[in-house]
């Protein structure tokens, strides 16, 4: 009984928590923290158990209401879905614990239960999008995800948040309407919404109705491009991610955009198929967008002065790396992309959480005011440095490994010129991360160099998640095979 329904429990835990939370009214009570923390840990444990079940290559399939696939909704939980949902739930749990104290800085007391409700609904939608094997179900989860992720930006109710959130809503809806249009074009010629069934029909459809498939690829890629902020369609991201409360920024930048990339991957590789992608010449097209994102995201980040805006633009560049790995459509490329998904979630999480801790304590957001920050908040600045070194790709940190494997995949795929662009993008990353670190620790712009380091004075719920992320970044940088053993099993599910 347990094993039959197990993966769905991981989906239900956040949903049940989201339903219970509005009943509590006191935003700072122990009761609320116990419910939120308990539900998050529970979801993590369930996701870990379902990962254990799929590690040997087993696959759970779950039919909702026991309807046969094609009529009902089917969930397929293979090693990819169970591992990625564990990553999502685990990092969300760290961020949720961090949010207990940090969110009181941004939100009124009575809004805090609603904030956690939104976070859990978002978690539910993310896990659902990873699990589902049905196109319309994917659309519904996607809409839940986009509404909740807009709401955790606008909940701060400042003018800038509302404008950013409305922009996100408008562009996100254009994206999801495009995706639904693409799904309609596929349904028109196949009469099927189940991804596995569609994949079987696809060669015949490609023979008889290639125009429908092409239009559908166009709509779906545009839609997911907007949702995942692939370079020329990224304009909503910096506003939304920088104005949101810190825990929201960490979740949106670290996890949410990647969920849309996963969904795009499912559609491209598992439904349309690599053969059709090669025939259309989609790969080179995607590589060009990914590469321009890697450069332009970093170029935009250099000009920013708001610390969270720097990090948001850096996300645009990092999404380029993941998109590059995906668009190479080779096992090595996908492996590098999966590694970077995890590495970037940890690094961007650590960066946003430490930047948030500095804003929480000192109220400084402008990078020009950061001189001497290494003396004022040594722990947060150390975590920030570890995250930034990872982003630049300094050996010994997780980001180096993903860049290394991405470089190998690029050489394998026969595009050596991209190696230069990866190098250039790393140098650009160094150009905007290193000055912040140098200012903070070397302090050559301070009026008086402090003679002692202060302690950060952060509560345990804030520094422990930051420390865990920092340790994991270094751990993955030194022992990448811990993760590579698992991500290495995933590419064959897509190719």
């Amino acid at each position: 009984m347990l094993s039959l329904h197990l993966p769905v429990y991981a989906l239900l835990a956040p949903l049940i928590a989201a339903l219970i939370l509005p009943l509590t009214t006191d935003g700072d009570s122990r009761q609320l923290r116990y419910i939120v923390g308990g539900a998050a840990l529970c979801a993590t444990a369930l996701a870990a158990v379902s990962l254990k079940g799929t590690l040997g290559g087993d696959v759970y399939t779950y039919y909702f209401g026991n309807w046969i696939p094609g009529v009902g909704i089917e969930f397929v939980i293979n090693i990819f879905s169970s591992f990625m949902s564990l990553v999502v739930v685990f990092i969300s749990t760290l961020v949720i614990f961090y949010a207990f104290r940090n969110i009181t800085h941004d939100l009124a007391q009575h809004l805090i239960p609603y904030y956690f409700t939104l976070i859990f609904l978002m978690l539910f939608a993310m896990v659902g999008m990873i699990y589902t094997n049905d196109l319309f179900n994917l659309y519904v989860f996607m809409e839940i995800l986009s509404l909740t992720s807009c709401a955790i930006v606008s909940i701060k109710r400042k003018g800038r948040n509302l404008l950013a959130s409305l922009k996100y809503l408008m562009q996100g809806t254009i994206g999801s309407v495009s995706i639904l249009m693409g799904i309609a074009f596929l349904y028109m010629v196949s009469g099927n919404l189940n991804m596995s069934a569609l994949a079987e029909l696809m060669p015949d459809i490609w023979q008889s109705h290639s125009i429908n498939v092409l239009i559908s690829i166009g709509f779906i890629l545009t839609g997911f491009g907007i949702k995942a902020a692939v370079f020329p369609l990224h304009t909503w991201l910096p506003d939304a991610h920088s104005s949101a409360p810190t825990p929201s920024s960490a979740l949106l930048s670290g996890l949410v955009v990647k969920i849309y990339l996963f969904a795009a991957m499912k559609l491209l590789f598992q439904v349309i198929g690599v053969d059709i992608m090669r025939e259309v010449g989609l790969q080179l097209f995607l590589v060009l967008f990914a590469v321009s994102g890697m450069i332009m995201g970093s170029v935009f980040a250099i000009g920013q002065t708001d610390i969270k805006r720097v990090l948001a633009y850096s996300s645009v560049a990092q999404i380029g790396y993941i998109a590059l790995g995906i668009s190479l459509a080779s096992p090595a490329g996908l492996n590098a992309a999966f590694f970077h998904v995890v590495a970037h979630a940890l690094m961007k999480g650590a960066l946003f959480l430490s930047a948030g801790a500095m804003i929480f304590t000192t109220g400084k957001r402008n990078v020009n005011e950061f001189s001497g920050m290494g003396y004022r908040m040594p722990f947060s600045m150390t975590v920030f440095t570890i995250g930034a070194f990872g982003m630049i790709g300094i050996p010994g940190f997780a980001g180096f490994i993903s860049k290394w494997y991405l470089g190998l995949a690029v050489l394998d795929g026969g595009h050596p010129w991209i190696l230069l662009i990866i190098l250039l993008s790393s140098l650009l990353n160094a150009m905007y991360y290193l000055p912040i670190i140098i200012k903070a620790f070397l302090c050559h712009e301070c009026e008086t160099v402090p003679s002692v380091m202060e302690r950060d004075g952060l509560p345990a719920t804030m520094w422990v998640p930051m420390a865990i992320m920092a340790v994991l970044i270094v751990l993955l940088g030194v022992f990448p095979q811990l993760l590579m053993n698992i991500t290495g099993q995933m590419p064959h599910l897509f190719l």
Partner: protein, 131 residues
Amino acid sequence: MIYSFWIQILEHVNYIGAACLFVVGLYTVVTHNNFIKKIIGINIMETSVFLLFVSIGFVHGASPPVLTLGDTGGPFVNPLPSALILTGIVVGVSITVYGLSMVIQIHQLYGTIELDEILDTEESKDDSPHA
């Protein structure tokens, strides 16, 4: 020849209508400064997809998919797209409601719902020393 061309057009008028509505909606969202008009544009875009999706399920000369006792069967209209679009409409309504509620709050904060006027006030705020 010409006659059959027009018959073709008439038979696929739903698809053409959906394409037109999609473009009209996109144009409205992208070009207007007024937030309410943008939300109307979003709604038009959603309606276009709903129209297309429901039209897909239609089978020429088929009966509604309701089985009665002693029914011999025969071609039925596909009920699945209509059922899916009911969900789609609910999603569309929630997006509209959420968007409009934000427009109300923006109006309370800025006193206007025109994007260009709001951006002007934001910029003048940035220039002032006490930003």
